[in-house]
Amino acid sequence: MYGLGILRGLGTVLTHFVNTYLDDIRWLGRRYYNPQALAVRQGPKTAGIFTVQYPEEKLVTPEEFRYIPFLLYEVKEDGTKEDRCTSCGICAKVCPPQCIWIERTTDPKTGRPVPAPREFYIDIDICMNCGFCAEYCPFDAIKMDHDFEIASYDRTSAHIFNKERLSTSVDYYASIRPTNYAREEVARAEKEAKKAKK
């Protein structure tokens, strides 16, 4: 019969429509603003309305998610901050769009390079969030951030991140990427031990 195909198609739409209400009833008012419900709603079992209520409720960011890079510093016992970066320049060399600028520190007396950056810039208007810098940094000094809420009104002043803007504590890193952090700490400890033996 002509028109049957259309009717069957509309049946599919109707199923979707009814499903939204069924799912609402299933969760009985706990469907929104509830992490468990969010996980189910956004997973492969999702049925009914698929929407996340951003900004009140956010999707869970997976650990590997990458946005803009940031630099790590460790807080020593006496409260001073020590950059992990040794200004070896690998991230600047591997960066595909070449958005990283590093100024190496030199010893004022001898004029020889010191393994610490004096300045570190990332032009986030060029950065393509590829994560190569984090992947190839031998000192785990640069990592990819999860924070994507950085829209701004002005790019001339706000979009070249300098060292101050980029620096973040290791604890923050450990909080956003716990498994990566744990794995790297083990590797670092091993390296230290090897060095100590020699």
């Binding site: 002509y2 028109g3 049957l4 195909g5 259309i6 069957r8 198609g9 599919t12 739409v13 979707h16 956004q42 997973g43 492969p44 079992k45 999702t46 698929f50 997976p62 650990e63 590997e64 998610f65 990458r66 200004s87 320049g89 690998i90 600047a92 060399k93 591997v94 960066c95 595909p96 070449q98 990283i100 600028w101 590093i102 100024e103 190496r104 390079p113 300045e119 810039y121 032009d123 393509m128 969030n129 590829c130 994560g131 190569f132 992947e135 190839y136 990819m144 070249i160 498994t179």
Partner: protein, 581 residues
Amino acid sequence: MTAAPAVEKAEVKPDEEFPGIAAPDTRKGYGGYLVAPEHLVEVVTKLRDEAGYNYLSSATAVDYLEEGKLEMVYHLYRITGGPALVVKAQTPRDKAVLPSLVPLFPGADLQEREAWDLYGIRFTGHPNLKRILLWEGFWGHPMRKDWKEPYFEEETKPFDSRWPGGAVFRSEQHNPFGHNVKYPDGFTLEGWTPEADKALYAGLGTVTDVNAGSLKTDQIVVNLGPQHPSTHGVFRIAATLDGETIVDLEPVMGYLHRNHEQIGERNTFLQNIPFTDRLDYLSSMSNNLGYALAVEKLMNVKPPERAEYIRVIMVEMTRIANHLWAIGFLLNDLGAFFTPALYAIQERELILDVFEATAGSRMMCNYMRFGGVARDLPDGIEARLNELAFERLPRKVDELDAYLTNNEIIRSRCIGVGVLPAEQAIAYSTAGPVLRASGVPYDVRRADPYSIYDRFDWNVAVRYNGDVYDRYLIRLDEIRESIKIVQQALRDLPGGEIQTGKPQYQVRVPAGEAYGRVDNPKGELGFYVISTGKPNPYRYHVRAPSFINLTPFGEMCKGHKVADVVVILGSIDIVLGETDR
């Protein structure tokens, strides 16, 4: 270059058949045959008609600055499968002229125009030789090795200014205009007129009176795009209409020409991987794979077993996501505004979640490395993949099928529209679903197997009518086949390493040329890479399926109504990032 499956006809040797005209290319790491330009047409005709090399996959130019020569490289295949026959022709840089192959292979049309635009090779006998990616009047042919862009810093990356004395600057600070521009010295606007679209409209034929029955009508030229919402991006169509009917139609592109190839030649080999994500940005995983395969061929490395399986899973998931998107937006173009697309996008989002968790980004995966993949599947992803591949996706594809396939409106809008017969599909070098929907069972995964596709049990999807409806159906078929492959790969997924050797940021690539191709969701994606042993590729060319699939677009639209143009375009499924590169 690749392992040849059983071919009925033996390998031909053009140098034996054409002594003195064709000679094997003996440069180190190179293959194929150098043919004297004046005999090119003759040799290729014979190869096509007698040896069965009837599919021109890629035609591209290379600039050998030091030798003062430009070279065209043609990759010919048999549509029945098997390895390539590479034919090359050289011409001096200062007077670059070569015979056009368009009379033999209409599929060379857009590719030769690109070579003219970017390299300045004049093709005698080309019916419509004008700029394609840039505009008429652009100053110079930018892919030539001695042409420098305004923001040129150094021949190759990494740039010295970044480290160790990295005083940050924005490139526009070093330009008197504060823009990414350069002009001939002494250029002013006075006394200068833009050439713009004159050539385009001239090619479409002048406006003439036509007698349609008793009604006298004028033909008009209508522009669709480049910001038209249903051209799938910044794509422009210039069509001559007689009433509602298309008389002549020309695709106009280049509105997203991002100089992918030139940047690719400044980049190191590794740096190109994230750039390939941005070619066909709906299927970044497959782009990664194609490029990785080409370079792996040069480097002669093989990824470990587990990496191979992960690659296949990811690439097939990409195909599913891409086809879902394509179907959704084909329906949009048909006027079923957004509901089918919303259903399709929902499933795609679930696949993207997997990519985000494994690769770190929803769209720009940057996941493949030479000799492996970037990182292993994180915890819980395998379970999720299983759930998707065995449970959710098959159900949802059936739902989509039931929802759309027998809809009478869709059938009457699609059946018999935009027909592309098999012989034409081959001659026009189309690939992927467009070719297979015309009844040619040509799939690179079968015809020239790569990775581990020979281990799985799956069928090459074919449909025979070559119309929009079949191109829609074949995408559903391909989703089903992909689900089958993913299921098998997940079942057999071995443990072990994911990377051969240590990850390196500077890979050593021996000198030579390689052409790696994969069957992307859009069609055959090829990467032609030349290495000179340096850290950067000397030539990096992308054979973009979206670009070449557009060659027969004008033919397919002729005689149809304006509303069908949008549908036909939707059924070809282009992505502008790849079309314009």
